[in-house]
C-alpha cells in the first residue's frame, strides 16, 4: 500500500487508477489512503461542469483539456454517469469524446458510475478528485449530469462550477429558478451555432441582475464546443475565478465552508458506522416483539443504543 501511494504521488497513472478504485469500492484501505493522500492535496483547481444530458459537457471538457494543456497544465478528469438502479451496472460513455487525450501522459481521465448514491455525486467522486489533486494534476475537471441532487453536490467539491445551457430548451431557465442560479460561477451557453443562444444569454444575465450585487458576478459565455469556439474564453474565466477565490474574502468563506463540510461528512459517516454496529448488536426477535406489543418504543430503544455508544466511546 505504501508503495502504491508513493508511486501514485509521483504521478504514475496505473497507481492513481488503482487508488481511485480502492476508494471507490469503499475498501477497508480507503481511509488509510485518504489520510495519506490528503496532506498532498489542496493545490489543484477543481472545476465542475454540469448541465442537462446532451448539453455538450464532454465535448466541451475535451476542448477545455486541450486549452489547459496548451497553458502547460496537467489535467485530471472525472466523468460521472448514472448507474442503473436495478442492476448497479453502468455504461460510461463520456470519455468517448475525450479520447484524443487518452495517450497524453499529462492527462488522466476516469469514468465513474454513481453506484449507490441516488443520482448524485458520490463521496468517492470527491475522494477521486482529491487523489488527482494530490497526485499532481493542476486542474481537475468533474463532469456530472445536472439532474436532481448532483448540481447541488458539485459545489461541495468544486472550486469553480460551470453550468452548461443550450438554446431551445425552455425548461433550463426553469431549473435555474429552482436553485442553480446561485451555485454556478460561470454560465456557458453551448451550441451557439443554433438559434436562440443570444436569448438564453440575455435571460441568464437578467436573472443575475435580479440576484443583485455579489462579490463574483458570473460571466455568461457562448461556445460552440464542437468547433472549439469560445472555449479559450471559458478557460480564462475559469482561471480568473480561481484567482478570485484565492484572493477574496468570498474565496476564504467557501474554502472554510468546504472544509467544514468535509469534517461533518466524516463525522456523520463514522457515527453512522457506530450506530450500525450498535444496532446490529441490539437487534433481536424479543426486542421486535416488545416493540410490536408496544411494551417499549423506538424512542427508548434509540436512547438506550445511543447511551451504549457514548459510554463505549468514552472508555
Amino acid at each position: 500500500m505504501e508503495k502504491l501511494i508513493a508511486r501514485a504521488l509521483e504521478g504514475d497513472h496505473r497507481s492513481i487508477a488503482r487508488l481511485i478504485s480502492l476508494v471507490e469500492s469503499e475498501s477497508p484501505q480507503a481511509e488509510i489512503i485518504m489520510r495519506k493522500i490528503y496532506p498532498h492535496s489542496g493545490k489543484a483547481h477543481i472545476i465542475g461542469l454540469t448541465g442537462s444530458p446532451g448539453a455538450g459537457k464532454s465535448t466541451l471538457a475535451d476542448k477545455i483539456i486541450a486549452h489547459f494543456k496548451s497553458l502547460g497544465k496537467t489535467v485530471g478528469v472525472i466523468a460521472v454517469d448514472p448507474s442503473s438502479p436495478f442492476t448497479g451496472g453502468a455504461i460510461l460513455g463520456d470519455r468517448l469524446r475525450m479520447q484524443q487525450h487518452a495517450v497524453d501522459p499529462d492527462v488522466f481521465i476516469r469514468s465513474m458510475g454513481t453506484r449507490g448514491s441516488l443520482g448524485g455525486l458520490s463521496r468517492s467522486t470527491q475522494e477521486a478528485a482529491l487523489i488527482l489533486d494530490a497526485c499532481g494534476k493542476d486542474v481537475v475537471l468533474i463532469e456530472t449530469v445536472g439532474v436532481g441532487q448532483s448540481e447541488v453536490d458539485i459545489v461541495k467539491i468544486a472550486d469553480t462550477v460551470g453550468l452548461i445551457l443550450v438554446p431551445g430548451m425552455g425548461d433550463d431557465i426553469q431549473i435555474m429558478k429552482a436553485g442553480i442560479m446561485e451555485i454556478a460561477d460561470i454560465f456557458i451557453v453551448n451550441k451557439a451555432d443554433r438559434d436562440g443562444a443570444d436569448r438564453v444569454a440575455t435571460e441568464v444575465n437578467m436573472m443575475l441582475d435580479l440576484l443583485g450585487m455579489r462579490p463574483w458576478r458570473p460571466p455568461v459565455l457562448k461556445t460552440i464546443a464542437e468547433r472549439n469556439e469560445g472555449v479559450e474564453e471559458v478557460v480564462s474565466e475559469m482561471t480568473r475565478h480561481a484567482d478570485f477565490l484565492r484572493r477574496s474574502e468570498e474565496g476564504r468563506r467557501r474554502r472554510w465552508q468546504r472544509l467544514g463540510m468535509e469534517v461533518e461528512e466524516i463525522l456523520r459517516r463514522e457515527i453512522a458506522a457506530m450506530v450500525e454496529v450498535a444496532w446490529e448488536k441490539e437487534k433481536s426477535p424479543e426486542l421486535f416483539e416488545l416493540l410490536a406489543a408496544r411494551k417499549t418504543t423506538p424512542y427508548e430503544v434509540a436512547e438506550r443504543i445511543l447511551g451504549t455508544i457514548l459510554t463505549e466511546t468514552c472508555d
Binding site: R18, S84, A90, I91, L92, R95, L96, S111
Partner: protein, 139 residues
Amino acid sequence: MSERKVRVIVAKPGLDGHDRGAKVVARALRDAGMEVIYTGLRQTPEQIVQTAIQEDADAIGISILSGAHEYYFGRIIELLKERKASDILVFGGGVIPEDDVPKLKAMGAGAIFGPGTPTSVCIDWLNSAVREKWARETA
C-alpha cells in the same frame, strides 16, 4: 457499502464501423451489473491500453469484423506487457475464423467469442475470469 465492480472497456479498434455487436455486449454487461467504459469507434491500440490503465479496468473487450484481428490483438497485448499491465484480461469477438483462435489465445487473449455466442457465455466467462484476477491481486 459499495462493493468492487467488474469494470470492462468495450472498444472498436481500427477503422471498422460495425458496432452492433459491441453495443449489444456493452448493454448486456451493464445489465449483468458491470461497469462498461465504452470508447466507441476508431480506437488505436495505444488509446485502448491507456484507457484500460486509467480506468483500472479488469478487462478489455474488443470487437473486430474487418479481418485485422491478429494485428490488433497482438498490438494491444504487447502494449499491456510494456506497461506492466498484463493482468488486464483481453477478450474479443466479431468475424474471427476459428482457425485463428488458437493463435490469438497463444498471444494472450483470454477468450474469443465467435458469431452467435450468447452474451450470457461472455458474462459468465468474465465473471469467473475477473474473480480469479482479483484473487491473484490479493494473494
